[in-house]
């Protein structure tokens, strides 16, 4: 019995030996560190959905042709759950064990802050597409050559915030009341926008609220007494629904916001006069007018086998996601290499990609892309204005 077992093991070993080592096909290895579950998961969830679809489409078409050879893409997108510790563990595995050189994410600033110092150790050997707001101030700084931030910065020269403040000025606005969430992003938003408003000659009055606030009637009454032309109310839908509804009850009917959906405007369409909002893309309308968007939506439904497309979350695809996988593949083709990070980065910085968004990077890796401004009027009529890079 023992002899037969040894014979079996020996023959099995011989068979494996005769078969020779299995040579894996060389692949382009991309990692993605995003929160797919947890309270801050909507951004990362949509980003990973987009990246998975892009990788599937590229691989189905035979891979990326670089230097006459086709490479499939191998995407690893674990769930950070929004935890900096998880993000760091996952990034270490991606860089040290899997030898990935291209990372999508993180979108969350806390995760970026948790991985930034470690990632700096790989400067020159890594490209990280990090949409996190905390990444923006580091662009172009020594040791951060690995960093690209695909999202346009609000108050950059081609930023949507700059455009929208100018839009308010042209409408004759003199006073804007800001009612902002008292947290890191809220403080940051007020800091960057107060200068823009000052430059445009618009007076501001700022009030703060805590994340747990549901009843804004007192602070809104104080704001109403100041008689502002527009209210700039927070940045999350959870707050916007309440603020917009309660503000209209007090006669504040004009809103201007740089984060948040059109949902609060549509819900209160009978009582608002104007609701101006930044939208990376209004997918509901774009589906009817842009064949690329229509195809994307169909492909998304087919790939994820879902009946309904997540129109509310889809604008978040402008984070490091669908377009950026194609952009990266295109840069590799142009660079003639899948491993020469410096050459790939050089191509990324010099190209304009026309995907779901028209987008490019500035000289330090800051994103510049097309976006839309929505103007919702009383009754629910929506006017969209498309702003393309360089069109201002």
């Amino acid at each position: 019995m023992r002899q037969s077992l040894l014979n079996f093991l020996a023959s099995a070993a011989l068979s494996l030996g005769l078969a020779g080592p299995v040579v894996a096909q060389e692949a382009i290895k991309i990692g993605q560190i995003e929160a797919q579950t947890g309270p801050s998961s909507s951004l990362g969830f949509m980003a990973t959905q987009g990246a998975k679809l892009a990788v599937h489409q590229i691989n189905q078409a035979g891979g990326v042709e670089v230097g006459g050879k086709k490479y499939p893409i191998d995407l690893d997108s674990p769930d950070t759950q929004g935890s900096p510790q998880q993000g760091l563990i996952q990034l270490k595995k991606m860089l040290e064990q899997d030898h990935r050189k291209y990372i999508l994410g993180p979108t969350l600033s806390n995760v970026f802050n948790g991985v930034r110092e470690y990632a700096r150790g790989y400067d020159g050997k890594l490209l990280m597409f990090a949409p996190a707001t905390a990444a923006h101030p580091e662009l172009g700084k020594p040791g951060y050559g690995f960093l690209l931030r695909p999202v346009v910065f609000d108050t950059a020269p081609e930023g949507f915030g700059t455009y929208m403040v100018e839009m308010l000025r042209s409408k004759g606005a003199k006073k804007v009341a800001i009612l902002m969430q008292n947290d890191a992003f809220g403080r940051f938003a007020v800091d960057i926008y107060k200068d823009s408003f000052a430059k445009a000659g618009i007076e501001i009055q700022t009030h703060w609220f805590e994340a747990s606030t549901k009843d804004y009637s007192a602070v809104l009454a104080r704001i109403a007494a100041w008689k502002p032309d527009y209210l700039f109310p927070g940045y999350t839908d959870a707050a916007l629904y309440d603020i917009v509804q309660q503000a209209t009850q007090l006669g504040l009917t004009k809103f201007w916001l740089v984060r948040g959906s059109l949902g609060p405007a549509i819900r209160n369409k009978a009582s608002i006069d104007e609701y101006i909002a930044y939208m990376p893309k209004y997918f509901e309308e774009a589906e009817k007018t842009d064949p690329k968007v229509a195809k994307f939506i169909k492909d998304y439904k087919d790939f994820f086998k879902v009946k309904d497309f997540p129109y509310d979350l889809a604008p978040l695809l402008n984070m490091a996601s669908y377009d950026h996988v194609f952009m990266l593949a295109e840069a590799m083709k142009r660079a003639g290499s899948i491993n020469d990070v410096a050459a790939v980065k050089k191509e990324l910085l010099s190209m304009t990609y026309d995907g779901l968004w028209v987008q490019k990077f500035d000289s330090v890796g800051g994103g510049i892309h097309s976006y839309e401004i929505a103007e919702v009027r009383r009754g629910g009529a929506i006017k969209m204005t498309l702003v393309k890079p360089g069109s201002k």
Partner: protein, 285 residues
């Protein structure tokens, strides 16, 4: 300024009645079962989402949705009591741990079912009343009226019916009540289900005023506990008053101070009451 203060006084009373109804649920269940059931906040959360879901998805008229939700949440409260809290009677720590565990499960289920995307329901009654420059939304007035009426009916039920008097008797002396023929087991389960139904009602009223996110239960539960302790456990009218006191403090406080202080008023008053009148404002000395 006077208009602003008057408006916030009215607003505080109405918002406080929402805290008061949860305080009443806390007061009743803890008086009868000996446990502060933190899952009551989660029952309110379920009530809010169910109301929104019935109204928006199935177009169930708001008043009918409220009745259905109160029934459904009462059933959830009853099942939770029979399966879980029956085993933690008069054991504060065990009851607390079980209720916190139940909160986690319910919040996770709400996340799974309705996601973390904020939801919003149209007010059942739109528009505002404006009197002397003071603006009060009609829906808030309706909510305040409904909640005060329910507290009043509960008070009548507890003082004028055999069951109510039995509940009071049990809260004062469980053994004597049992010897007098009070079916203590059924009484406890009944009060637990009634407390859950009150939270379902609070959730329904909340849903027609504010946006829904899966984290609302914890905050309102805290206000409810504060309101119940301010009043003194077991006081029905006191629970409503305790809730209103917190609501008014928040309303008037936010006229003069930043909204960041809103959650501190109730706790500050609670500290003072516990220092100088530990049995609560309406409790015996």
């Amino acid at each position: 300024m006077m208009q602003l203060i008057a408006g916030q006084l009215i607003n505080g009373i109405i918002v406080g009645s929402l805290y008061g109804i949860i305080a009443l649920a806390v007061s009743l269940t803890s008086g009868i079962t000996g446990v502060v059931n933190f899952a009551l906040g989660a029952f309110m959360l379920v009530g809010a989402y169910l109301t929104w879901h019935l109204n928006e998805t199935y177009s169930v008229a708001f008043p009918f949705a409220v009745i259905l939700v109160m029934g459904a949440v009462a059933l959830i409260g009853l099942v939770a009591d029979v399966l879980l809290f029956r085993h933690t009677r008069n054991n504060l720590i065990n009851g607390l741990i079980v209720s916190i565990g139940l909160v986690s499960v319910i919040v996770a289920l709400v996340h799974m079912t309705w996601t973390s995307t904020p939801q919003n329901m149209q007010p059942f009654v739109a528009g505002v009343f404006t009197v002397g420059g003071v603006i009060v939304p009609k829906m808030k007035l309706l909510m305040g009226g409904v909640l005060v009426s329910i507290v009043g009916l509960t008070y009548l039920g507890l003082t004028r019916t055999w069951m109510g008097r039995a509940a009071y008797a049990y809260a004062q002396n469980p053994e004597a009540a049992a010897l007098m023929g009070v079916a203590t087991g059924r009484l406890q389960v009944g009060v637990a289900a009634f407390g859950a139904a009150l939270c379902g009602l609070a959730g329904s009223m909340y849903a027609t005023l504010y946006s829904l996110t899966p984290d609302i239960g914890a905050l309102y539960m805290l206000k409810g506990v504060e309101g119940a302790l301010l009043a003194g456990i077991g006081s029905v009218i006191g629970a409503l008053f305790g809730g209103m006191l917190i609501g008014v403090a928040e309303g008037l406080g936010s006229v003069f101070l930043p909204l960041a202080f809103n959650d501190a008023y109730g706790l500050l008053m609670l500290v003072l009451v516990l220092l100088f009148r530990p049995a609560g404002l309406f409790g015996g000395r």
